[in-house]
Amino acid sequence: MIKKLKNRLSSNSFLIIITILLFLLMYIGGVIIFKDKNFGRMQVFLNLFISNAGLIVAAAGMTVVLISGGIDISVGSVVAMTCMLLAWMMENKGINAVTAVIVVLIVGIVFGFVQGWLISYLKIQPFIVTLAGMFFARGMTAVISVDMITIKNEVFLAMAKSKINLPFGGSVNKRGVLIRPYIYPSVIICILVLIVLFFVMKYTKFGRSIYAVGGNEQSALLMGLNVKKTKLKVYVLNGFLSALAGFVFCLNTTGGFVEQAKGFEMEAIAAAVIGGTLLTGGVGNVIGSLFGVLIKGTIETFITFQGTLSSWWTKIVIAVLLCLFIILQSVLMNLKWNKRKKINQV
């Protein structure tokens, strides 16, 4: 029994378990510290999803890329470009909301395809390609419009701000009216993405070949997998998800400006890494990344509830957490490696 448990723990789920424990610890800590400010309300928890819906989608995409052994740091800029393009199409060109969203998603797919092609078929290092992609997309945002555009399109705003009340939970306010906790449609999109990706990664041929390619490209090739095509598909998928993240992000901000979503890529990578995805590829899980995002959201909520700290602290704390988890991963990997060496010696 203990041996079984030990085996389970030493396997890759160990990192995810640490993450979930950390999240629970932080959340319970928050409930105790900010007792007088009602941290424990259902709505505070749901707000984590509402304000981070875009990041959840982006982090899920990033997880897939990291599992395939690559990296994509263009995500934040693509999100900014998507928001700007959406706002520009709807406000300056009068295109209707649904068409605009479809166009934006196609742009994301094309962007992902070009990056993926350069990475998989021309064999350029992923970070160089996506670094160029990051600056390209940020620059394109400015080419579309240097000024901020606010979205006033009614259909889009209806998509963004229609509250969906949950049938349970809630609290009674001062006047004695029961207020149900609510979510926005963006939360439903991000949860759908998570569920679909979870099943794709776990039960489809495509998902399994991503793990194989990320674990060891050579052996994947020898097994007869089409490594190049798999990688290309991963980046196309991520391009699509980045654009979708941009759309979801835009539902929150309802506007586009050049400096939007700066450092978003880092948050997505941090969420994935904190959620137990190995940077060397081959190991990871989208559910872990969800908890990574929730941890980041909890830190932000702490800072808002605390009230005096500036928002830059979020970035610094996230960077410190990322750093800690990377070091943890590295240590765990070294342990594993030493174990293997011992076995080989025996």
């Binding site: 620059g139 400015a142 880092m266 990322l322 990377i326």
Partner: protein, 354 residues
Amino acid sequence: MNKIKHIWMKITGFSLFFPLLCLAVVLVINLIRTPDFFRISMNNGVLYGYVIDILNRSSELIILATGMTLVVAASGGTDISVGAVSAVAGAVCIYSLIGGASSDVYRIPYVLALVLGILAGTACGVFNGFLVAKLHIQPMVATLILFTAGRGIAQVLTQGFILYVRKESFKYLGNFLPGIPVPTPIFIAALVVILTILLLKRTSLGLYIQSVGVNRIASRLVGLNSSLIIFLVYVFSGFCAGIAGMIITSRVYSIDANNAGLNIELDAILSVAIGGNSLGGGKFTLIGSVIGAITIQALTTSLYAMKVTADQLPVYKAIVVVIIVAIQSPVVKRWMKAVRHKNALSGNRKKVKA
């Protein structure tokens, strides 16, 4: 005929051919657009002209590219935190000099503040180096931490304000020393490059860096301390970013944590790539990177002249990066080799027929 071909091959085979060609192309385009491009005049006792301006503005980039070249050569990765590290170094320098508000009173000696700033940059380099060399984290991800957190740290130091130093002597480093017509940054950049080249050529460090870049494990097996060398290049890159940060802050006698050294990491990587260095590591030429940096600055200046705004600039640079890296990629190289081989074969056949 053969002789011409031979000379042509020799010229194109020269390691600095590609960077010089790029520079020449940019300069010629500029010369066509503005005929008095190369004119240098004296204004108020200082040299004035496009060329001086480009050299002046490219100084920070040259310094950063020096550090970046070594990082790329030794580890096959890039240090994307250099821009943020310059901002941190600048913030540390100005904060220690005048405290949290704009003023004209120094709290500590000027030189000490410069040293502190450069030390802050070096400390960031130590952090990056530790992550990459000791913990074996991919360079991109390791430096990504400071890339984002760096500006946060600088913001915390400056409390989100733009701090100004209202003192004439503070401007010397980034502008002109009294009585000397050449901008100071050019001297600093030249000094950094010359000292680095001396260090690399007089000792075996240059060779070691190349060796580690070509094959880290093999170098370890012949007795080089690969980890230490990779650690040192990241420290050096942080040091260079620190110096660049000093120049950037002195140029505008203020620190703006959001915009100091913004997007300069792409320029630095671009300089290294245009300089003919492979981004995969191994052999490198520092002079190539210097020429690359000047080319980039010339390109930036000409794009500004074409009414491209600062926000839109990255689009063009990103396209240039992708093209250069694509040309360098092993697949394209193999393809070009195959084409050349085919041509040579068909040439031989013609000879046989004749």
